[in-house]
């Protein structure tokens, strides 16, 4: 049932990412149209639970989706199987998640 769990996790993470990407793109266009500076954007995002949750969820979905996708690619193209494949994908996913969280913390965290 591991395959089915991974399959579901990848589809669910994609379903989460799709609306978040649209909101993110819309937000960027809106921010640029209004001529907001980086400081003005940060003033709106710092300490915001809403934006912290929004981008936190996005980072989690990306890390999950990309790690499972990489697992499929490595398995099909390089014939990798077993614990090594799982280890590489866990490290990749956790690495992406950590980097993403660092970025979220920089935008949402209060100094």
């Amino acid at each position: 049932m591991v395959e089915l769990r991974l399959y579901l996790a990848q589809r669910i993470s994609a379903a989460i990412m799709a609306p978040l990407v649209l909101v993110h793109l819309g937000l960027m266009i809106y921010a640029i149209q209004g001529g907001l500076s980086a400081e003005e954007i940060l003033a709106r995002t710092r300490g915001s639970l809403l934006w912290g949750s929004f981008y936190g969820l996005f980072v989690l979905a990306v890390a999950t989706h990309a790690a499972i996708g990489l697992r499929n690619i490595l398995s099909e193209w390089l014939q990798l199987r077993g614990p090594l494949l799982s280890l590489i994908c866990w490290l990749f996913g956790l690495g992406l998640w950590a980097l993403g969280w660092r970025a979220v913390a920089a935008v949402v965290g209060t100094q």
Binding site: E3, L4, Y7, S75
Partner: protein, 246 residues
């Protein structure tokens, strides 16, 4: 009537250890099929050429080969529709071990049918009445769409996932499983769903639709596999729900 220009045919010759193309000039004939071309070569130019065919009318599924890089049923493929600059390149089917020349070893193809629980498993006896199944029943219609497979392995040769993952069951076996999952008389639905949703099963399909593109009977194994994915997902979620809520 015979056209003047001969067909320049390259035929792959060899065995599992390797081989090379041999060139032949074959006279053009009206309504000539690729199988006619291969047969002409064997009868008039190279008697030791091995190939497989039986019915010659698109029913038995034994004459599939790669023709100009594309898997085709050669008995129903007219030369003038696939010839490029008067040239034909004929090879054994992709993704299957070669026995000799144009003959592949189909063992793994049928072994995967077995792994996918591709056999009907009913519980009725001859004493019972024939099961009444309405042709308009949704499950029967789903089975109907998948049922005309002739096991030619063209979909198997067209599938990149088969090429990448030797454990992948392949479009034909999964299509067969889907038709049985929609057969209300069959009693192995759970076991089959388990078999086709484990490693190398329906979840490995990328929906590239090579199988549907080249299926000579115009079946759509990709749609069957999508149906299995949906069925497996529904069953998994249903089981989890029942575990939590009794």
């Amino acid at each position: 009537m015979q056209n003047s220009a001969p067909i320049r045919v390259k035929v792959w010759r060899g065995d599992a250890a390797g081989g090379a193309f041999a060139a032949f000039d074959v006279p053009q004939q009206p309504a000539q099929t690729v199988l006619d071309v291969v047969t002409w070569i064997q009868r008039h130019a190279e008697a030791s050429l091995s190939y497989r065919f039986a019915c010659r009318v698109g029913m038995c599924g034994s004459c599939a080969m790669m023709v100009n890089g594309v898997p085709r049923w050669t008995c129903r493929t007219h030369v003038n529709k696939v010839m490029q600059d008067n040239r034909l390149t004929i090879e054994p089917l992709r993704n299957l071990p070669i026995i000799k020349d144009l003959v592949c070893d189909m063992s793994q193809f049928f072994e995967k049918w077995k792994r996918a629980e591709g056999h009907f498993s009913g519980q009725g006896s001859r004493d019972q009445a024939v099961a009444a199944i309405s042709p308009s029943e949704p499950a029967r219609r789903a089975a109907n769409a998948a049922i005309e497979c002739i096991n030619c392995a063209i979909c198997y040769a067209a599938c990149d996932v088969v090429a990448w993952n030797p454990d992948y069951l392949g479009p034909a076996a999964l299509n067969r499983a889907w038709s049985l999952q929609n057969d209300s008389r069959d009693r192995r639905h759970d076991a089959r769903l388990q078999a086709v949703s484990s490693d190398g099963g329906c979840l490995s399909c990328h929906s590239q639709q090579g199988c549907a593109t080249y299926c000579p009977n115009e079946l759509n194994p990709t749609a069957s596999i999508a149906g299995l994915k949906k069925m497996a997902t529904g069953s998994f979620i249903g089981k989890k729900y029942r575990q939590r809520h009794g």
